[in-house]
Subunit: 149 residues, 10 copies
């Protein structure tokens, strides 16, 4: 009997044991974003069957365990809100401080609607800065207007 | 007797009444980011005394009311978590789904630390797309390593 | 100084006072769904300027109050969760009991993604039944697949 | 010693392992709705003894494990509210945004009462649409008026 | 501008001021149960137009205020859970201690379903007892089986 | 090492395995109410040593496991509030909707005090009704006045 | 229109304004415990009509306001849990640290039951101590055994 | 690998198995209060090394398990608030109902400060009463004034 | 009718209006710590009658308003936890990250007990640093051992 | 399969078993603060590879277990808020009582910004005092001004 949680736990355990890196693993899995692959391995996105097979080799997963990686996961279940980890919490804080501002400016530019979190992609990069390097995040989500019927 | 909450409520009321836009107001206040100015008017950031004076003229604020705009606000008090508004909620959802991924990739690139939400700036733009325009968000926060003593 | 909450409260008060019906008001406002118009008057959707003007006449709103009806509202703020009202709670209960089933069957049919709550419409009708009439609800939301980048 | 939770976990595990589909399993179990059968297998509805026997064959359950499928389950215990999974959350969001509207329109049509979530059935279908297929949900619940005594 | 909350508050205030009793008021309003009338005056049930008119005379309500008594209220909004008042809390405690027992025995007797809280009536009486009088509560709710479709 | 939780889980498991009924078991245990015996077996009340011995025979418990049934349990720990199960939730809903009414009418009849949930008994019966049988619940709790000192 | 909350607020305001003491007021009201009188004035217990009349003179209450003091209050509504005030919190902490101990020892001495919080009295005294005076609290509540029926 | 929780669970298990009493065990451990010893065995206070050795003999603990009894425990972790058990809940209720009264009277007598929950002792006794024996609780905590610096 | 909350709100309003500083006000009030005086003006500590009189002159308070400043406040009621303001939140984060460490090291040094938050003083200073000035906080609280009785 | 939680549990278990002290272990690990080393061993900070190797020897960890000590942990996950342990709770209480004061005084001295909890160090010392030794805590965190862009 296996579960998605156990597969994620096994992946994390093997990663620490063997000193693997997310970027390294991602490069082996395919040409999509490392964010997508990392999220999938952490139980938040799905892999294709081919990608899952590669992951199975890297992490020593059984066919059953690999199959779980292709199943839509119970998303969001691994971050208890509010986040206790400072790195994750800062994003939560940004929502508290800037949420109403984002709403005001997106609606002013696009009208009544939202930025999709499903048709969505993002990047994380190092932005060199003499006063201290910066984390540069790019997000892009399709604008979805409230449709009237 | 005045309070920061009342000043924000008055600003919102005048904005609707007079059909002002955040970007228009921001352009009149100074050369900083519209995000900063909108956040300040919504009670999440501070204005300089000169900017507050300009805001007072635009929104018909008394000197006392304008003074509140220069005071560090009780940040975060206007977004009840989890956010009920779909536009704001989508950012919350991103944290639930990608929080562990962001932590994994930022730590892999930068080491043990966080992206500052204080030494932080961001932009919101329209990204034209034939399949539907997209909301493009750029965030940049200084990386702060956990210091050892 | 006005706010969206006060406009909604005034609309509710006038409705009870004058014995108006939501469907009657909706028919006067335009040709969209009564669900959309009722939601807008209850502070959850927006009206066009022309519709807001009609609403102003029906409910005796000032121009400022009418203007609020065209502004994207702080959605979701009027239903405290879990809902205490039995009628609303039953929908909440459906999620608790059938949420995992809906997820399983939608994903099986459509793949990894969601039903949009933004590009969404619905209807509520009476379904006559000799054993007791039934509430018939039709929902239709665009399927949004998780995009891979 | 067995429990309903363990039976559900085993069913999920076997389903992934053998690549079964809910609709396929449902068709084997009987002529009721796939929603009912999926819900029962996920621990939210009951099967008849005959259906449970068929399920036992499909999933390799012991007689004791099969017996649990005929017992009224502790409903609702598998969806932590608010739902963290985007697919399930969207239904939660619909309640927050439209709950008061549904209440207003159902009461206007039917009087003071509720839509039953017990004498209730529903369907999920694909609605083809050139702008993107849609998830079409039909719900039908008996209207129950508050009885006066 | 009036609201249901204000009408309830006025009724409570007048009741204390004039030393009225719930049973006395109920007897004047009509022949239904005092529980129904008290609940309606406390904002949890509706009155007919004729009953509301009588209530208006007793409590000195304006026509608008009386009209609110005929509107389906936002039920449940006046008891914050868990209840802090000892009298109300004891019922909450009964659920915590006996909830699983009630479920077990009702399902054993009736099958998979619930006791309706909508087609429901109850009585509260004094049960004389030499060791101290007892509160005798009778509840009767229609059994609703989970329907299969 | 045993615990009360494990004993309850074992009892539930054996009951499903052997198709026992609560009422049947209760009749074997003694002459008290089936509600009391079911509650005790579910970990909410205590059995006498003699009753526990009988329960041990029925469920195949070791002497240590049987001893746990005579120990005052950590009451209430098995129903997470608000209840997610519809059958149990309806009682919770009754408190939300009628709690203030019960308080009003009990205090009007008895004065300032409460209905005991400790010196308390209840019955659950089938009430035949041509429009659908009803669940008939009788509760009787000693009235306890707030004592003045 | 008056309410119990306003009467309590007025009493507190007058007490500070005139520099009254709870013990002094209690002595004027009657011969019961200062704890009872203070609790009643703070909105947690009731006064007799005669006591309420005396309280009305001391605090300058109108007849309507005085009448509220004889009405069973919505108990517990003024202490948000967990308590934020250190003095009140320490009692909360005692429950967290000693709750299981109290349960163990009371049940060992008295059997399965509780200490009544209704047939209950208490005293607060100064206990002189050379190492620093102590707060001495005496509580006495009737033991109520779980009755078997 | 052992933990304090496992030691407490083992102690409870042995106590039930062997029919020990808290007072009996306390008398063997030393001359301090049974409340202290019971709390320590339940994981809320510490024992001296000598007392832990005696406890090890009584409960058959290994040296490692006994060592845990001398370590400051993670206090309060075993009572989830609000308490679901009626016996423990009554104390919680007393805080809700009398918390503001205790604060008022302690501050009136002692000035601005608190009763210590650390330099604290208490007793639990049977108070015989013809109308039903009472639980008599004595608490004594050092008064700690807010120090000014 | 006045309340402590209104006095604090008035003080904040006057402070902004007149551009006062906490340190400046503190210096006028007396020789105790600015932390104590600021806390008292924000409704968390008490002033002596003489200090309150000085505060009344500075902030234009009535005698009744000044009297509230000498009354033990309902402490802690102004910071909703978790704190939404980033400055205050960082202290909350320190507890989450270092709480178990502080407990471990304080107990190792002092034995089983706590650092008093009542017999407590602290200072906040600027610590010049070429890499950016630092906030230097000094806390000193009396160690209170758990007393054994 | 290992996890950070299991490594921390093992470390705690070995520490109790062998009677180690945090300060003693810290001194063996390196020259950084005992606070840092204790936090790392409790799963809140990271060790260098060299330090982890030393820790492995002290606590008998496998290479895999040691590797976990160098991985950024899921911070904050071990203190459930509000803290139930009195020692940790007192710090929580300080935030509730002094949070607004700290914000007021830090902003007055430094301007709009925060004290970093990342570029942060602290010390815990014994402060001898004839009236009872005190816990002396020194904190120093870099001031981070809200940057304007």
């Amino acid at each position: 009997m296996t579960s998605r949680e156990e597969v994620s736990a096994k992946i994390l355990s093997v990663k620490v044991e063997q000193g693997l890196t997310w970027k390294g693993v991602a490069a082996e899995l395919g040409s999509s974003s490392p964010i997508l692959y990392t999220a999938a391995l952490l139980g938040q996105m799905t892999l294709t069957a081919a990608e899952a097979e590669k992951a199975a080799k890297i992490f020593g997963l059984s066919p059953e365990e690999a199959a779980w990686l292709t199943v839509s996961p119970e998303r969001g279940s691994t971050v208890l809100m509010p986040p206790t980890d400072p790195l994750i919490y800062r994003f939560y804080e940004l929502i508290q401080n800037y949420g109403t501002t984002w709403k005001a400016l997106i609606e002013e530019e696009f009208g009544d609607g939202i930025m999709s979190a499903i048709d969505f992609n993002m990047s994380i990069e190092r932005e060199p800065d003499p006063k201290g390097d910066r984390v540069k995040i790019g997000m892009s989500g399709k604008f979805l207007p409230f449709k009237r019927y």
